[in-house]
Amino acid sequence: MADKDFLVFIEQRQGVIKKASLEVLSEAIRQNKDKNGTVTAVLICADSTLLVKNITCFQPNKVIVISGHEYSEYSTESYANALQTVVEKLNPKYTFAANTAMGKDLIPRVAAHFTSPCVTDVVELIAEGSNLLAVKPMYSAKSYGKFAFNSDMSFMTLRPNVFPLAEKNESASVPVETLSCPPIEVRAKVVETKASEKQKMELTEAPIIVSGGRGIKGPENWAMLQDLCDVLGAALGASRAVVDAGWIDHQHQVGQTGKTVSPQLYIACGISGAIQHLAGMNSSKNIVAINNNPDAPIFKLATYGLVGDVFEIVPKLTEEIKKLKGES
């Protein structure tokens, strides 16, 4: 019965599957539990040989693979063409993907192709009868909107780091089907991918973020925060003020006109907490604020607030965590 089925787009880049899309798959399977529909995962890639096992262990009902050298780099047109082929074949009620650069680029395009609705950056799904309501942040997470679909076919992108990964079952047996789709002429192609020098981990996907603001006094002091990032396995974030001042690249900016993040732990160093910044990190599970001004607005949100000198506290914190990690 197509009227309750789920389709999940599994994202890979350079032959590595994005964890965020496995979170989405896990959520689709959870949502399908009472509905008894089918959950199909679709993988579009150059070579699926080593990848399929990473999907089947989450036990969708089926995996569909579309592979070929034309999918070695992402292109909107070729990927949209492939995904459309699958949607046409399965006619799923809900098509999900992760809310990543690729998901945001691909899913609205495919949804529009079918004159179907799409909601991006979903952080909560609510079952209402046989339908799903989607909750997403609006006004940079200063409010949340609950959306209802009135369509036989709907599309959503789900925010990374919000929906938990399901337990894996390495011995699961799941049917894998290979599908070929008619080639198309691609007008816009990726000709090069340049890795970013500083940011090793993407902010929106990082479990821990260490962020710096004006209180770190100058770009020469990023090294101090980077040390803390390194011992924690964290990504480096920044406030708008220091991005605008040219201390660091925009990729690091958290908040309105930057990234909205919800890590397990957000450590704000020398950030006073402008409303635009708070909106971008408000949904972090735990917030640590280190600031010398006891009246800084960031302390209103902080799970743990430390009034004090960033230059004294941060290096000590790095040392202490290093000791701890050495022991365990």
């Binding site: 909107t76 680029d105 609705p117 006004y139 009135n150 408000n282 640590v288 430390l306």
Partner: protein
Amino acid sequence: MKIAVCIKAVPDTETKIAIASDKIHIETAGVKYITSPYDEFAIEEAVKIKEKHGGEIVGISLGGAEVTEVLKNSLARGLDTALHLKDDLFADLNPLSTAGCLAAAIRNENFDIVLCGQQGVGGDNNQVPTIIAELLNWSQVNQIVKLDIEGKEFKAEREIEGAHEIVAGVLPAVFSAQKDLNTPRYPSIKEIMAAKRKEITIKDAESLGVKDAITKTKDLVVLKELSMPPARTQGRKIEGSADEQVKQLVQLLRMEAKVI
């Protein structure tokens, strides 16, 4: 080069959001409307392309009375003409319907380039540029930080997770601007005065020919309810010397928060 820039009027990012009594709108009393921040980069890029290659820039905005000031300001920044898509039918449109109106205004007008902000602040959907591209059957490059145009060819650099992608293709195409694309210039008094003489054309659903299409797509997805973010419980201040603070914090992160 004929360039369309899609511009959205949005509540100032400083606005403290309050929810109206109907639970699906925000309180608009006292809210100041501004050009959506990402659209400023789209406008600047259009002006830069025109400076280099010549041509014409048309600003297009969908919305109510709040749009007028924003379009005037955009005209002062170097747009040639502006189009205001205004109709009672256009209230609270979803991205599919919004893009449908914009695409209708762009289609058959010989545009080479459509520039948008990568997201409209407020709805935060990141959808309209992509849907316009699909409806026009054009290429798209989202979240661009660099754009080079050479004849009918383009090379665009876009931001992805931890990397930049360089995309090459042919016009016509839709591009959505990320923050690092350029540094917007602000208009001079002279430009603001000159913009007063520039034209803002108003088009409704009828003249765009979208009445049936929008009526059909308008309710495919609807906002049921707005709510405020869950209030965070007031945390605790950790006192003492820097050494004591750090020791306590690490203990709490490990034992209580269980995150390290």
